[in-house]
């Protein structure tokens, strides 16, 4: 407090320091010429910041340490690095515990990419949060070794087993994950490709022109409540609801019929295909 007293006295008493504020003082005519350059310079700085700093960073072959609450660092990998020990030495903090013999986790550089092999007796590394002995490392793979978490980055995009679907019904679909199977619903695929596929998610589905139906088709030949598809003992049964137009399965007029995969259903002009695979064809 004793040290602060002279500073306080200086701040309050020295007249020149707290002089009359000229912040809103009169502008000189010469200042007129500076307004436009100031504006231009301001926008130029914004543009500069955008082009220099707001681009996604370049990818490089190597490992990022992404352990939460720790400093994130990068370590590049080239042909000379054949196991994980130098990587972990460079990226782990002194107090990070890594419980594995790192020299026995080898990295092989192959034309397809970097191949990681775990040669310890017990698996001590998780790749994408799963135990794995050997794998090609893809861009964005997560490696867990004890308390250390690493992310592998490479210039090549990650390889998928099947190519992403580009034609037909564009429902975003990832490749099949391991674990729980996909819950698939049987579907009614319209012959008219402009219409949407209808998924039979309920046990009782009404088809008709009325808005209260589950599958609404506004065609003239269809009755307000034309037919129903119900789930009976694991199979799907289509029933006509006493219409004059009739319900046709594979070209035959039916009253009641159990549906098979690939059956063609027609309500005169409106045609659908019944599909059990859950995948639109």
């Amino acid at each position: 407090m004793k040290r602060l007293t002279p500073i306080f006295l200086f701040l309050t008493t020295v007249q020149t320091a707290w002089a009359k504020d000229r912040f809103l003082g009169e502008t000189d005519t010469a200042d007129l010429f500076f307004i436009l350059p100031l504006l231009v310079a301001g926008f130029a700085f914004i543009f500069f910041a955008k082009t220099r700093y707001l681009q996604p960073p370049k990818k490089q072959l190597g490992f990022w340490s992404i352990t939460p609450h720790k400093r994130q660092r990068f370590f590049p990998v080239d042909e000379t690095i054949e196991h994980m020990e130098p990587v972990v030495n460079a990226l782990a903090e002194p107090d990070t515990n890594v419980y594995s013999n790192l020299s026995k986790i080898t990295l092989t550089h192959k034309p397809q990419g970097v191949y990681l092999e775990e040669k310890n007796y017990k698996i001590s590394i998780l790749i994408n949060r799963r135990r794995s002995r050997r794998t090609y490392l893809n861009d964005g793979d997560i490696l867990d070794m004890g308390e250390l978490t690493l992310m592998f980055t490479s210039t090549e995009p990650p390889k998928y087993e099947d190519k992403p679907q580009t034609t037909g019904h564009l429902i975003p679909r990832m490749r099949r994950a391991q674990g729980r199977p996909i819950k698939a619903y049987p579907s009614l695929i319209p012959a008219d490709s402009r219409k949407k596929t209808y998924y039979l998610t309920k046990n009782l589905n009404f088809i008709g022109r009325s808005d209260t139906c589950d599958l609404v088709s506004k065609a003239k030949s269809i009755a307000p409540r034309h037919s129903k598809i119900e789930k009976v003992a694991g199979r799907y049964k289509i029933s006509d609801l006493g219409t004059t137009g009739g319900t046709f399965v594979n070209g035959r007029r039916v009253d009641q019929k159990f549906l098979k995969d690939g059956d063609n259903i027609a309500f005169e002009s409106v045609k659908y295909t019944f599909s059990l695979s859950g995948r639109p064809r």
């Binding site: 912040f23 700093y53 960073p57 660092r73 990068f74 990832m174």
Partner: protein
């Protein structure tokens, strides 16, 4: 080798690690490293932003003073305060959205920052001018009058901090930025008040005051960004790489729609509103919004999953890490 903190050149850089057994002990060039991993949280873009904001508000203020001088408008402190506050507020509050490339945040920042900043600026400049005029009448001390004038920055700082909070719609962010505004206001009051005696040319004084205030505000804002932060998402690839999305609202939508809180339209295989984060007592829970689109936590397909520290979230091609304190 510019930044040893970001790129560990070899094992010997890390303290406490055995270097004798280190098989590689050779220098590595650091030039080609991706240096901007932390660009979303780096100090450099904030510095350029501060410069740009202060220059633009300076130009606006000069223009206004020119106009008021030409037309002989009274209460020019009121209008000057409104213009300085509006421009500074909208640009500073829009800056966060600009640096994190979130279009709806930029929009909200320009809107709220402009309105609240203009109000704060007009209030601070006009009110403190009136108070200073009263002090001038009693001829107490010229220094006291100058001190009163300098406090306009404090008022402006607090209002701009409140505008930041209005953009994020969160009490924690509001508190944080009002503290930043207080800090910047006090700092700018001291520095600008002391400098006012040294510089007599008003044009230069105005520019200097604006630069000082903006720099102090942005630095305080950056320092306080992680203050009392509990949960956040760290983006790990693509456009948002390195960005930290703080989580403090009860619900967050993730998807490609423009009004989604975390907008992922630059990534592939993502639905319009793909997933949501819901707040519970223990933290956040990730819920899949659409049964036909897959959401992964730790590379397992999930419908609903409470998240814990270090969980890796994968939505389409976007990869996130969920981080939380404790």
């Amino acid at each position: 080798m510019k930044s040893p903190a970001l790129c560990a050149s070899n094992g010997s850089n890390v303290k406490g690690r055995a270097t004798l057994n280190d098989p590689i002990d050779r220098p590595r060039s650091c030039g080609a490293f991706p240096r901007y991993r932390h660009m979303k949280t780096d100090v450099k873009p904030y510095l350029w932003a501060a410069l740009a904001v202060s220059l633009l508000s300076w130009a606006a203020l000069e223009f206004l003073l020119l106009v008021t001088q030409q037309f002989g408008v009274q209460y020019h402190a009121f209008f000057a305060g409104a213009v300085v506050g509006g421009v500074l507020g909208s640009l500073l509050a829009g800056m966060d959205g600009f640096l994190s490339q979130a279009p709806n945040k930029i929009k909200a920042g320009l809107k709220f920052g402009g309105a609240i900043g203009a109000f704060g600026g007009a209030l601070g400049f006009y009110l403190l001018e009136q108070i200073a005029l009263r002090f001038g009448a009693y001829e107490l001390s010229a220094g006291l009058e100058g001190m009163v004038y300098a406090q306009r920055w404090l008022v402006l700082g607090i209002f701009i901090g409140a505008a930041y909070g209005a953009v994020e719609q969160s009490n924690r962010v509001t508190t944080r930025n009002i503290i930043a505004g207080l800090f910047a206001g006090v700092g700018a009051t001291l520095i600008n008040g002391l400098v006012a005696g040294l510089i007599t040319y008003p044009f230069v004084l105005r520019g200097l005051n604006l630069v000082v205030f903006t720099l102090l505000f942005l630095m305080a804002h950056r320092k306080l960004r992680t203050y009392k932060r509990e949960q956040w998402l760290l983006s790990m690839n693509g456009k948002h790489e390195g960005a930290e999305f703080e989580l403090n609202k009860p619900i967050y939508y993730l998807g490609t729609q423009s009004n989604d809180d975390i907008n992922l339209d630059s990534y592939e295989q993502i639905n319009s509103t793909h997933a949501k984060l819901i707040k519970f007592d223990y933290g956040y829970s990730l819920v899949d919004n659409d049964p036909f689109c897959r959401t992964f936590v730790n590379f397992r397909n999930i419908n609903e999953q409470p998240l814990k520290n270090g969980d890796v979230i994968k939505i389409g091609t976007a990869l996130f890490q969920y981080c939380s304190l404790a």
